[in-house]
Symmetry: C2
Subunit: 205 residues, 2 copies
């Protein structure tokens, strides 16, 4: 498969755009600021993205695509059930280090930038998280199918708690600089999985 | 107690500063942007805050102080133990509605703005969250003292999981617009508390 020069240039621009967003946020992106960074003229950049908003959406989609490649896709190689859920969680926890951009998770940062700003950029962020929740729910449901999780498990509640553990992990490691962040995160996952074992929910009623 | 005109003006400025930060972030704060908003001259504002950074720190401290007044302080009226922990959680979940500013939690937004920017503004954010974690740990330890939680409970792990639930709540309600956000959050808290009951940890070994 060959990619055209135009596609390669577009991909280089988007890579630089996400790198900037990882540290300063997607709101810091503008055709002007990015043209300087990639050494192109503003008009050259306008040839690829007609507006600042279009550029922001394309950058969010580029980050979401890399997330899919690094997190969902390799997890599918693990057998369905708990092994696959564990692989997905491992990939998710390490994706910030592997993504090639410095700074925090650009997609989690985007939650706080756009939650109060309805519009097409927020919609791109919501699409990413809707897909993430759907992939998580599917992977968790397979753990119910294999009998590793209780058949009365509230899958959406599990997804919600999983989101919370990953958010708390990023907060502890990046803001609080805790050396224990990784260990406490693994502990939280282990508890979540243990609490979902078959028979466990019934015993609690 | 009387407050001077200077203190009242300072407080009015900080209120407007946090209101702006709730929607656009603390990085959007500048002496210039704020002078327009409160109808003062730039030089008048410089009389209160010597620099943009000083203004950002004072705004974060003003938000943290309101958080303390609305979340920690009223929880102390509840009897020590689970009643107080429940009061604290209720106050925390509703504080964004009660704080008087529109938009998301300014302090949670600040996590993602400053985690990659070491310096005195980040230090102010870390001070708030260090205090929050300390108040949570103290309240949870009292639940162990009253016998409502297991004496082998990992208090820091509980604090971590609690942080995650609140972060996931804000994400679900503000970004995803889920009508189920409040119910799923209450469900997550209920599980967390149930899983910490005496004897529960031992049974799982």
């Amino acid at each position: 498969m060959t990619t055209s020069k135009g596609e390669r240039t577009r991909s280089t621009i988007l890579d630089a755009a996400v790198a900037l967003a990882c540290v300063q946020g997607f709101e810091a992106l503008s055709i002007g600021s990015l043209a300087d960074r990639v050494g192109m003229s503003k008009s050259g950049l306008f040839g690829h993205f007609g507006s600042r908003e279009e550029l922001q959406i394309a950058a969010i989609e580029a980050a979401a695509e890399r997330f899919a490649v690094l997190v969902y896709r390799p997890a599918l190689e693990a057998p369905r059930g708990l092994a696959r859920l564990n692989a997905l969680i491992d990939n998710w926890l390490t994706w910030v280090e592997r993504c090639g951009w410095d700074g925090g998770c650009p997609l989690e940062g985007a939650i706080h930038e756009f939650d109060d700003r309805p519009g097409p950029v927020k919609a791109a962020v919501v699409r990413h998280f809707t897909r993430l929740e759907r992939e998580l729910a599917r992977t968790i449901r397979l753990c119910v199918d294999t009998g590793e999780f209780d058949r009365d498990l509230d899958v959406d509640l599990f997804v919600f708690r999983l989101m919370g553990v990953v958010m708390a992990f990023h907060y502890r490691r990046r803001l609080m600089g805790g050396t224990r962040a990784e260990a406490v995160t693994r502990g939280a996952f282990a508890l979540l999985i243990k609490e979902s074992a078959p028979g466990r929910l019934q015993r609690d009623q």
